[in-house]
């Protein structure tokens, strides 16, 4: 396969995640869409690593996975707190910082 095919798949996956963030209002689904986008970028990095014939891109994927794990842990704790305070998972509900 030409390496661009992998870039194309990851571009499509990224845009599906992006569209998901825009059309959904459930915070948990929004988080899943962020995971989709992170995974798409990981795929690009791994494909680029193969294109250049080095392992640096794969090391970046490793770091992105670590950061995604940390982000999910903190983010889901925030979501649980939000739900217990507001009683909803609607992303439009928390508006205390709105001017």
């Amino acid at each position: 396969m030409p390496i661009g095919a992998y870039f194309a798949v990851s571009a499509i996956l990224f845009c599906i995640g992006l569209t998901g963030v825009m059309i959904r209002r459930n915070v948990i689904v929004l988080f899943m869409c962020i995971e989709l986008m992170l995974n798409a970028v990981n795929l690009t990095l791994a494909a680029a690593a193969r294109m250049w014939g080095g392992a640096d891109g794969q090391v970046f994927v490793f770091f992105v996975i670590v950061v995604a794990a940390a982000e999910v842990v903190v983010g889901l704790a925030l979501i649980v707190n939000l739900f217990f305070r507001r009683g909803t998972l609607d992303i439009d509900a928390p508006n205390l910082l709105k001017w």
Partner: protein
């Protein structure tokens, strides 16, 4: 799904084994065919399940579709000769992150999705159009120039085509993997513990901070919080 994964790995291993033992026209093309099969299966499953993630009304189903998407991406990692990443993808994403998602969904008891698409129809249409436009831009602008015959990886491309093409050729990981006897794990470890050691240590710090942050956020300290929501035990 595991069966697919195992078959994919076996096919790829067969392809690469043949490539390393007896490089020749027919053998190289059999490896390329195996890669193409794995690529198309994984790409279709991946894109289909990603669409399902954003369209499923029940968020438990969405989480399960996310697992399928992650497994498909692991298959693409295998096709990209990155078997270590494929294993890490399954272990960390499918094994830990999605389980955390499902755990929170069950804890909150919100699997029945009663909100939840963007309220204004016009916004949804605009989001869809915008997503397709960005996808088109990325595919034609970024991936487009690497879609030609000169960008085939690892000696699959015709040298004459590569020589007259202006795009960066795909070198493939065969040389790097052949030079390191530990294979995929070896080449990553070599870079991770030499050039990127500092980043590695910072990521350890990040994980500690995230753990402490989750502990602090998980504590109940607000005395009148029970007035607005159910009490956690």
């Amino acid at each position: 799904m595991e069966l697919v994964l195992a078959t994919a790995h076996a096919l790829l291993a067969q392809g690469t084994d043949n490539l390393t033992t007896a490089p020749g026209e027919t053998v190289a093309s059999s490896g390329a065919t195996a890669e193409a099969i794995v690529f198309w299966v994984a790409a279709v499953i991946g894109v289909g399940s990603a669409v399902a993630v954003i369209l499923m009304r029940n968020i438990v189903h969405a989480a399960l579709m996310l697992v399928m998407n992650l497994v498909a991406i692991a298959m693409l990692y295998l096709a990209l000769q990155s078997s270590f990443l494929a294993i890490i993808q399954i272990l960390v994403y499918a094994g830990a992150i999605v389980v955390l998602f499902l755990f929170v969904i069950m804890l909150l008891g919100v699997s029945r999705d009663d909100l939840l698409f963007e309220t204004h129809r016009w916004h949804r249409v605009a989001a869809g159009v915008g997503g397709v436009a960005v996808a088109g831009l990325l595919v034609f602008g970024v991936a487009g120039e690497h879609l030609g015959a000169a960008s085939r990886c690892g000696g699959q491309a015709d040298p004459a085509v590569v020589a007259e093409s202006t795009v960066t050729p795909c070198r493939g990981l065969d040389d790097a993997l052949g030079a390191n006897e530990q294979g995929s794990v070896g080449i990553i470890a070599e870079r991770l513990f030499t050039r990127w050691t500092f980043a590695f240590e910072i990521s350890a710090l990040l994980l500690v901070v995230a753990t402490i942050g989750a502990l602090v956020l998980g504590r109940r300290h607000d005395p009148d919080a029970s007035a607005t929501g159910p009490e956690v035990v």
